[in-house]
C-alpha cells in the first residue's frame, strides 16, 4: 500500500501513453504544414472554424464537463471578447493583441459577478438562469449606443494586411496560424488542468458535492474558479472571431446559437473529456458548413435540423459521446506493472 502510494506520487503528471504522444505530435506537425499545400480559402475557413469551435466547446467543457454546472448562456463571454477588441481598437486604437487580454479580464470579472450569486443554484435553476443571462447580454448590447446598439461595430479596416491590427485581407493563412496557435495553447492548458489537482477537485465537486465538502474542498469556490477559467477561454475566441469577420453585431456574437453549438459539440464528442471537443468539432463543423453549401442558403435551417437530430440520437444511444467508441486503453495512461 505504502509503496504503491510512493510510486503513484513519483509518477509525473504528463506521463502519458507513447502512442498517444506520437499520434498527437504527428497531427500537430500536419496541422502546421496544411497551408503549405495550397488549399483554397474554403478549406482554410473550414479549419479555422473547427479550431474556433473546438476551443469554444472546450471552454464549455471546463464548466459543464469538469465541474458539472450546465451553462446555457456561454455565448455571453464570446460576445464580450468580440466587443472588447473591436471597441478598444476603434475608440483608442489599442492593438487587438492587448485587448484580447482586456476581453479575458472583463469576462473573468463578469464570470465572478455572475458566478457568486448563481453558482449557489444547482442543476436546472442554474441552467435556466444562464439561459436568461445569455439573452440579457444580447438585449443590453442591442440597446447600448456606445457600442453601436443593434447595428454593431464595423471595425475600421487597415488598407493593407497588418499584424499589429490583426487584419489580413489578402489571404486566410495568417488567420489560420493565429487560430491554430490559440487552439493548441488552450488544449495544452486544459489538458494540464484535467490532470492537475484542480481538475480532480472539480470532478469531485461534480460527482459528489457533499463528499467533496467533507474533504475540505470549498465547493462554491471551485465552481467559480471553473466558471472563470471557462470564461477566459471563451473570450479570446470572440476577439479572434471579431478580427476574422471584422463586423460584429449583437445578433451575431451574442446569438443563442453559440451557446447551443458549444453544448452540442461537447456532448457529441464526449463530455468531461479533453479530447471530446476536438472530435465533436471536427465532425460537426464540416457537416454544418457542407449542409449550408448544398442544402441551405435560402433561409431554411437545414444544418440546425441535423444538429437537433444528432443531439437527440447521441443522448439516446451514446450519452458519453463518440469518444466512448475509442477503446479505453489507448487513451488511458499506461498501467504500471
Amino acid at each position: 500500500m505504502e509503496s504503491k502510494l510512493i510510486a503513484a506520487k513519483s509518477e509525473p503528471l504528463w506521463n502519458t501513453n507513447n502512442k498517444v504522444i506520437s499520434i498527437v505530435g504527428a497531427l500537430v506537425v500536419l496541422l502546421f504544414t496544411i497551408p503549405l499545400f495550397g488549399l483554397n480559402s474554403f478549406y482554410l475557413h473550414l479549419f479555422i472554424m473547427i479550431f474556433m469551435h473546438a476551443v469554444m466547446a472546450q471552454s464549455w467543457n471546463v464548466i459543464a464537463g469538469f465541474s458539472g454546472q450546465i451553462s446555457l448562456g456561454h455565448g455571453a463571454f464570446f460576445g464580450i471578447g468580440a466587443y472588447a477588441t473591436s471597441f478598444f481598437y476603434m475608440q483608442f486604437g489599442i492593438t487587438p493583441w492587448i485587448s484580447i487580454f482586456f476581453g479575458m479580464f472583463i469576462s473573468a470579472i463578469f464570470a465572478v459577478l455572475i458566478g457568486i450569486p448563481m453558482l449557489r443554484l444547482s442543476g436546472h435553476y442554474f441552467a435556466i438562469a444562464t439561459l436568461l443571462i445569455g439573452i440579457s447580454f444580447q438585449v443590453v448590447f442591442q440597446r447600448w449606443d456606445l457600442v453601436g446598439a443593434a447595428s454593431g461595430l464595423w471595425v475600421t479596416m487597415t488598407p493593407e494586411d497588418s499584424w499589429i491590427a490583426l487584419q489580413f485581407h489578402s489571404s486566410k493563412v495568417p488567420y489560420y496560424y493565429v487560430f491554430l496557435i490559440f487552439f493548441l495553447i488552450t488544449f495544452f492548458v486544459v489538458w494540464l488542468l484535467s490532470r492537475s489537482k484542480l481538475g480532480y477537485r472539480l470532478r469531485a465537486v461534480r460527482d459528489d458535492p457533499q463528499a467533496a465538502l467533507s474533504l475540505c474542498i470549498n465547493v462554491s469556490n471551485y465552481k467559480i474558479i471553473a466558471y472563470v477559467i471557462s470564461a477566459m477561454i471563451m473570450a479570446p475566441m470572440g476577439s479572434l472571431f471579431a478580427q476574422y469577420i471584422l463586423i460584429i453585431d449583437p445578433d451575431r456574437v451574442f446569438n443563442i446559437e453559440i451557446s447551443i453549438i458549444v453544448l452540442l459539440i461537447t456532448v457529441l464528442g464526449g463530455i468531461g473529456n479533453v479530447w471530446g471537443p476536438i472530435i465533436g468539432a471536427s465532425i460537426l463543423i464540416p457537416i454544418s458548413e457542407y449542409s449550408r453549401i448544398y442544402l441551405g442558403g435560402t433561409g431554411g435551417a437545414v444544418d440546425l435540423i441535423f444538429y437537433g437530430l444528432i443531439l437527440m440520437i447521441i443522448c439516446i444511444f451514446r450519452p458519453n459521446g463518440l469518444i466512448s467508441l475509442i477503446p479505453k486503453d489507448i487513451l488511458e495512461r499506461k498501467k504500471q506493472r
Binding site: A64, G68, I70, L72, P117, M118, R120, L121, S122, G123, H124, Y125, A127, I128, A129, L131, L132, I133, I135, S136, V139, V140, Q142, R143, I260, L263, L264, V267, I271, G299, G300, A301, V302, L304, I305, Y307, G308, L309, I310, L311, M312, I314, C315, I316, P319
Partner: protein, 288 residues
C-alpha cells in the same frame, strides 16, 4: 403617469400572466412527474399556434372552434415525444436530459422553419375581435377570453390532478415511481399521460393566443423562457405555484415596461427570478 395607465398595465399584465401560468403548469406537471425539464416547451407552443393557424387557413375553422383539435394534436405530440425520446433518457444524467430536450427544440424549430419559412402570419378576422371598455380601461376581447379560458383550463387541471383517480395516480408516480408501481400504477403509462396533459395545456394556450398573436417559428422562445422562470419561481413540480408565479411575471413585465423601459422587460423578470431563487432556492411553493 396617471392611475388609469397603471390600472391598464395591471390588467394587461394579469391577462398575460394567466397565459404564462397555464404554459408553465404544463411544464411543471412534466417536471414533477419525471424530473425532466422540457426545453422544447416553447416549440410545442409554436406548434399549437401553427396547428390553429393551418386549421383556419386550410379549412376555415375559427381558432375558437379548433381548440379541441389543437389540444388533441398536442397531446398526441406529447405521447410521441415520450415514446420516441423521453423514455430512453429517463435514467440518464441531468445533463443528457437537458441536451436531449434542447435537441428536440432545435429540431422542431428548424423543421418548422424549413416547412413554413420564418414569415410572420396571423389569423385574419377571427370571431373574437375588438375591445371592450370598462371604466377607463380598454380590454382586448381576444386577450380577455384567452386569459379566461387559460384560467378555466388551469382550474380544470388542478381539479383533475387533485380530485380524479388518474390525477391521484399521477401524483403517486411523481412522489415515488417504484412504490406506485408496486401498487399497480404503470409508471410508463403515467408518464405518457403526463406528457399528453402537459402539452394539452400548451395546446389551449397556443390555440387561444392564435386569435391575436403573430404566429412565427420563433414565437415560442420568449414564452418558454417566461414559463421556465415561472416554474422555478413557483417551485419545480408545484402546479398552484405556477399560477402565482405566472401572474407575478405578467405584472412585472407590464409594470416594468410601463414604469422604466419596455425594451428591457426580460431583465426585470430575470432580476425577480434571481431574487427569489437566491433567497428561497426551492421557489415559492416548491417541494424540492
Amino acid at each position: 403617469m396617471t392611475s388609469e395607465i397603471i390600472l391598464q398595465a395591471i390588467v394587461t399584465g394579469l391577462m398575460m400572466g394567466l397565459i404564462y401560468a397555464l404554459i408553465a403548469a404544463g411544464l411543471s406537471l412534466i417536471f414533477g412527474l419525471m424530473e425532466i425539464v422540457n426545453f422544447a416547451h416553447g416549440e410545442h407552443l409554436m406548434l399549437s399556434m401553427f396547428s390553429s393557424f393551418w386549421l383556419w387557413s386550410l379549412f376555415g375553422l375559427d381558432p375558437l372552434f379548433s381548440i379541441p383539435i389543437t389540444i388533441l394534436l398536442l397531446a398526441f405530440c406529447g405521447v410521441l415525444t415520450h415514446y420516441f425520446l423521453i423514455r430512453y433518457i429517463l435514467k440518464a444524467k441531468m445533463l443528457i436530459q437537458i441536451c436531449a430536450t434542447f435537441g428536440l427544440s432545435i429540431f422542431i424549430r428548424s423543421i418548422a422553419q424549413l416547412l413554413w419559412t420564418p414569415d410572420f402570419r396571423n389569423v385574419d378576422k377571427p370571431l373574437l375581435e375588438g375591445r371592450i371598455e370598462v371604466g377607463s380601461v380598454f380590454i382586448g376581447q381576444p386577450q380577455l377570453y384567452a386569459s379566461l379560458v387559460c384560467l378555466l383550463a388551469f382550474i380544470g387541471l388542478y381539479l383533475f390532478v387533485t380530485k380524479t383517480e388518474t390525477g391521484l395516480a399521477l401524483q403517486a408516480t411523481a412522489q415515488d415511481r417504484h412504490a406506485a408501481e408496486v401498487l399497480g400504477i404503470p409508471s410508463n403509462k403515467m408518464f405518457a399521460i403526463g406528457w399528453a396533459i402537459g402539452l394539452g395545456c400548451v395546446g389551449v394556450a397556443g390555440g387561444m393566443m392564435a386569435n391575436y398573436f403573430f404566429i412565427f417559428t420563433d414565437v415560442g422562445i420568449n414564452f418558454a423562457l417566461f414559463a421556465f422562470v415561472a416554474v422555478a419561481l413557483g417551485g419545480f413540480g408545484s402546479i398552484i405555484g405556477c399560477l402565482y408565479a405566472g401572474v407575478i411575471i405578467g405584472l412585472v413585465e407590464s409594470l416594468g415596461g410601463l414604469l422604466i423601459d419596455p425594451s428591457f422587460k426580460l431583465l426585470y423578470v430575470f432580476v425577480i427570478y434571481l431574487l427569489v431563487v437566491i433567497y428561497k432556492p426551492q421557489g415559492l411553493f416548491g417541494r424540492y
